[in-house]
């Protein structure tokens, strides 16, 4: 009984910690993205509120909360109200399986630094990213607007087709670690990170996760200059904010996934593991912001053709080759 209570409290503390850290990180990623994009375009970005614009996220939140929460006429009301939460929720839930440090020993107890070390953590992540499609599709469908519907349709096709390439690109990683558990995968990278072992898988992973998370250059579901704002055209106030925050939490999730699967998780010399982990996550986030500042958006059919005709065969080939090499090395 006592043991269970302590475990429960520990889980709650870890949940609270992750919740706070991830949400504030997401808020400041928005600021960082705006500032970095600004500097890439030779302007300053937000720097008016507080020293260097550091209070800008707070102001944005106040603005979003005080705005009108508008529901369009003839929309599917309950689904419309429910969809943004789904996006933010699936993004937040992904953190349950992400290990951010080796197990810590405190007062004689070994505390795993992950909320829940599932044996099928990788599959859990994929399940959640599939569920994230629903936020987009339901939001776009319920809005009763052609632009929303177009955006949702694009999002659906794009996210489903790129999830295949995403899953296939991670099979070599699973082969190396011989486990679906994220902790095991990180443990397997203690000598060298997977990016050196599976460079092709890394490239495929990065491209497909960009499409999967609807970030530029693959932001067709919300392409501003084609379909207004895509699936969240009709949303305003904090519901739009939830979509927005969900997107940036997703960016951290991607960073954490890339770190865990390819960059060696918390492994690194000199600095404490948590610092290495957060540093790598932020570096990957910077890579995505950088890509947003650099790449134009391809056409929609080009995106799908690239996914089905290039990435998936390439990922399959990668799986076969990796398997053959491992087999040859073992025998």
């Amino acid at each position: 009984m006592n043991e269970m209570l302590i475990t429960l409290i520990l889980i709650l503390v870890k949940l609270g910690l992750i919740f706070g850290v991830v949400l504030s990180m997401a808020a400041y990623l928005v600021l960082a993205e705006r500032k970095i994009l600004g500097r890439m375009q030779m302007r300053y970005g937000p720097n008016r509120v507080g020293p260097g614009g550091m209070i800008q996220p707070l102001c944005d939140v106040i603005k979003l909360i005080t705005k009108e929460d508008f529901v369009p006429a003839r929309s599917d009301k309950w689904i419309f109200l429910f969809a943004p939460g789904l996006t933010a929720l699936t993004a937040l839930l992904s953190f349950a399986v992400v290990p951010f440090s080796p197990p810590l020993t405190l007062f004689g107890r070994e505390i795993p630094m992950v909320v829940c070390d599932l044996h099928i953590g990788l599959l859990y992540l994929f399940g959640l990213s599939s569920l994230a499609v629903y936020g987009v599709v339901l939001g776009g469908w319920a809005s009763n607007s052609k632009y929303s519907l177009l955006g949702a349709m694009r999002g659906l096709a794009q996210m489903l087709s790129y999830e295949l390439a995403l899953g296939l690109s991670l099979i070599p990683v699973v082969m190396t670690a011989k486990s679906f558990s994220l902790t095991e995968i990180v443990m397997a990278q203690s000598t060298w990170p997977n990016i050196l072992q599976h460079p092709l898988a890394f490239i495929i992973f990065m491209i497909s996760i960009t499409a999967e998370s609807k970030r530029t250059p693959f932001d067709m579901p919300e392409a501003e200059n084609e379909i207004v704002a895509g699936f969240h055209t009709e949303y305003s106030g904090m519901r739009f904010g939830l979509f927005f925050v969900g997107e940036y939490i997703n960016l951290i999730v991607i960073g954490a996934m890339t770190t865990v699967f390819f960059l060696g998780g918390w492994h690194g010399p000199f600095l404490p593991p948590v610092v290495w982990f957060i540093g790598k996550v932020l570096f990957v986030a910077f890579l995505f912001i950088w890509a947003r500042g650099s790449m134009p958006r391809p056409r929609y059919d080009q995106l799908l053709r690239f996914g089905w005709k290039v990435l998936i065969p390439l990922a399959l080939l990668n799986v076969v080759i990796t398997g053959a090499i491992r087999l040859a090395m073992n025998s």
Partner: protein
């Protein structure tokens, strides 16, 4: 070889944006840094004075007529010596579009545009400016010009007595 071209085209933008990331932004941060507009910039409208310090405006209504948004209004008056002036002169800066047509129309160079662009005000009535707000102490762009010294009207000197003038023609004389 399209493949290598595409790879290059994918990687090159990253290099360029990274370069720009470390360059100094070109933004002028307005309330702290202010740029000086060029001398002929069209912003605040002023009424200038002659080199001798008298008002230039003769209330001919040309600026008011040229104004496309009708933001200039005035009342003409005449002094004892025949010199015309504006009894009152009003510019509504809330309507002004800073086109500068009034300055172009002015025959006496009284009304002129200046580079002072910080006019905005929360109270719209403060943007309606009277003659005392508009008059400045200097000559503005031309510090030699005095309309009545070229006009043919006997105000500055006797009629026909100005430097570039000849005396009045006698309409009853037979000779041209």
């Amino acid at each position: 070889m399209n493949f290598w071209r595409d790879i290059k085209g994918t990687l090159q933008p990253f290099w360029i944006t990274l370069g720009y990331l470390f360059k100094k932004p070109v933004t002028i941060q307005y309330p702290e840094e202010k740029r000086t507009p060029p001398p002929r910039y069209r912003a605040r409208i002023v009424l200038t004075r002659n080199p001798d310090g008298s008002e230039r405006c003769v209330a001919c209504q040309l600026c008011s007529a040229a104004c496309p948004v009708d933001c200039i209004s005035m009342q003409a008056a005449e002094a004892e010596d025949g010199r015309r002036y504006a009894a009152w002169f009003r510019i509504n800066f809330a309507r002004c579009i800073f086109c500068g047509l009034c300055a172009e129309a002015c025959p006496t160079m009284a009304i002129q545009t200046t580079p002072d662009y910080e006019i905005c005000n929360r109270d719209v009535l403060k943007l309606v400016q009277e003659k005392e707000d508009l008059l400045i102490d200097g000559c503005g762009k031309d510090d030699e010009y005095n309309y009545y010294e070229h006009s043919g009207v006997g105000v500055a000197n006797e009629r026909g007595g100005n430097e570039d003038e000849y005396g009045p023609v006698d309409p009853k004389a037979l000779l041209p």
